[in-house]
Amino acid sequence: MRYGRAPEVLRDIDLNLEPGSFHFLTGATGAGKSSLLKLIYLAARPSRGLISLFGRDVNAMARRDLPFVRRRIGVVFQEFHLLDHLSAFDNVGLPLRIAGARIEDYRADVIELLQWVGLGGKIHAFPPTLSGGEKQRLSIARAVVNKPDILLADEPTGNVDHAMALRILRLLVEMNSLGTTVVIASHDQDLVRRSGMPVLHVHDGGLHLIGAAPQASAAEPAPPEPARPESARPEPVPHDDPEDPEAQSEPEPPPAAEGEA
């Protein structure tokens, strides 16, 4: 992949994301992590090569078919990409509304999802009034509301503190445990290390599977099994504020991956 006449950002990449897999995507700034994600969520086209999504060649796909493929992909952006003029409720409900659902049909689901990400008290709030962590969780809620087959997150913890980063990671792991394929681009080596998930490392335009990151050290608490509510619904994030000392309870680290890609 290249931008205009610039040198290729990514080349000779052979990657197969198995359904239900979980990968971290690491690499130096400018290495091409975001570009790789863009290729997957169809914001960019490869200058050469083949990308197949859900069994279909992206390059051969008609433009009119792209939206229906995008609806199967949830994206969490580093810069959130929330619509400031829409409330938290409307931002999260956006993919469903675009898919043609009526507000009566998705109202309860969206409210529940907002509560799941700890924003139940800010349903009517607008993004400019939210903190970075709240925006990030709102962005996650919007990404998952459509129950996507693939969830891509570009530096989802880049704007939050460590505690909130762990909470967000837990949300993504819970999503994965429900069958969603997850790819997280991150600079946060500590987060990657603690997750124990396989790592795809972008370097010099190529992609290298490192395998599971080293587990957390013995000094750190062992990652417990995640709670599994009977409804198979991920546990809600505590309704708190990162700056609230009472709410700063140590979050549970995410579970280790059961297998490698």
């Binding site: 003029h85 529940e112 129950k147």
Partner: protein
């Protein structure tokens, strides 16, 4: 994620918000411009309807009458020849009444050109017969000519067809000019909306990008702009139409019984034509916005 149906009692006042931001500093200028265009279009239509009514009235008047100019021959005097021509014409099918004009009536006809009392007594004047025709089945100039020839009267029949053609031509010309004016105004409004749509898409690139990434089709996004600008045009055109209707009503009131002037007899009914302006404005805006937005979106990667 498999969120089960929540037991929460969601507030009943949830409504889907507009996906495009409401505030737009350019909207005020656009509303004003479209309102002015609608105002001009409505005035053009009102004037056209009034002019058309005047033209139709004139044609009706001309087509329901004819004039016979009689030239006396032999021992017959002018008034005698005119009287006989009137009698002959009255017997023709399709003629309601025929009346010979006396010299005084002929002088009255010439007054606008020569003034009152300026005619020398010995000036020869044409001897005229005015013929009132049956409006349903009027007699033709040919049948009147034949009747005059049969009665051995040297006469020329003028059924006003030349004048009617002129009036009809003028009326048609006014209609064409008005239609062109309205088409130009609609084009100007469409261009304005197209420009605003381009600006809107450029200014809301972030919104468009998010909508695309959330799975919106080009038509979905184009429809947002279509609805936005058609509703704006509807509102703006309504302002212009109301102003034009008010101006027309004032003109009608000030014009008295003629409805302004005999050439523009404005009717109260003409003002009702303004109702169409908001609908047409919205339609033009909808087509323009949808077309431009779709073209731009399809050009994006």
């Amino acid at each position: 994620m498999s969120p089960a149906r929540a037991p929460h009692n969601a507030p009943a006042d949830f409504r889907a918000a507009s996906l495009l931001p409401r505030q737009d500093e350019r909207a005020g200028g656009l509303v004003f411009t479209v309102a002015v265009l609608a105002f001009l279009a409505c005035l053009a239509v009102i004037a056209t309807l009034a002019a058309d009514r005047a033209a139709r009235g004139w044609v009706t008047q001309l087509s329901s009458s004819a004039t016979i100019q009689v030239r006396p021959s032999g021992d017959e005097t002018g008034p005698e020849a005119a009287a006989r021509a009137a009698e002959t014409a009255a017997a023709v099918k399709g003629v309601v009444e025929a009346r010979a004009l006396d010299r005084k009536a002929a002088e009255t006809l010439l007054e606008p050109w020569l003034g009152k009392g300026n005619l020398p007594a010995d000036l020869p004047l044409p001897f005229l017969v005015t013929v009132e025709l049956d409006p349903k089945a009027p007699a033709t100039a040919v049948s009147l000519d034949q009747a005059m020839a049969h009665a051995h009267i040297d006469a020329s029949v003028d059924d006003h067809s030349r004048w009617m053609q002129d009036v009809r031509r003028s009326g048609n010309l006014v209609r064409v000019i008005a239609a062109l004016a309205c088409a130009l105004i609609a084009s100007a409004a469409g261009s304005m909306i197209a420009f605003a749509t381009r600006q809107g898409l450029a200014a809301r690139r972030d919104v468009v990008e998010v909508l695309h990434l959330c799975g919106a089709e080009d038509s979905f996004i184009a429809n947002l702009f279509m609805v936005r600008f058609s509703s704006l045009a509807f509102r703006a055109a309504a302002y212009g139409a109301i102003a034009a209707a008010a101006a027309g009503a004032l003109t009608r009131l000030a014009g008295g019984s003629d409805g302004f002037t005999p050439a523009l007899p404005i009717s109260w009914l003409d003002l009702a034509s303004c109702i169409a302006a908001p609908l047409l404005g919205a339609a033009v805006a909808a087509v323009s916005a949808k077309t431009v937005a779709t073209r731009i979106l399809r050009a994006q990667p």
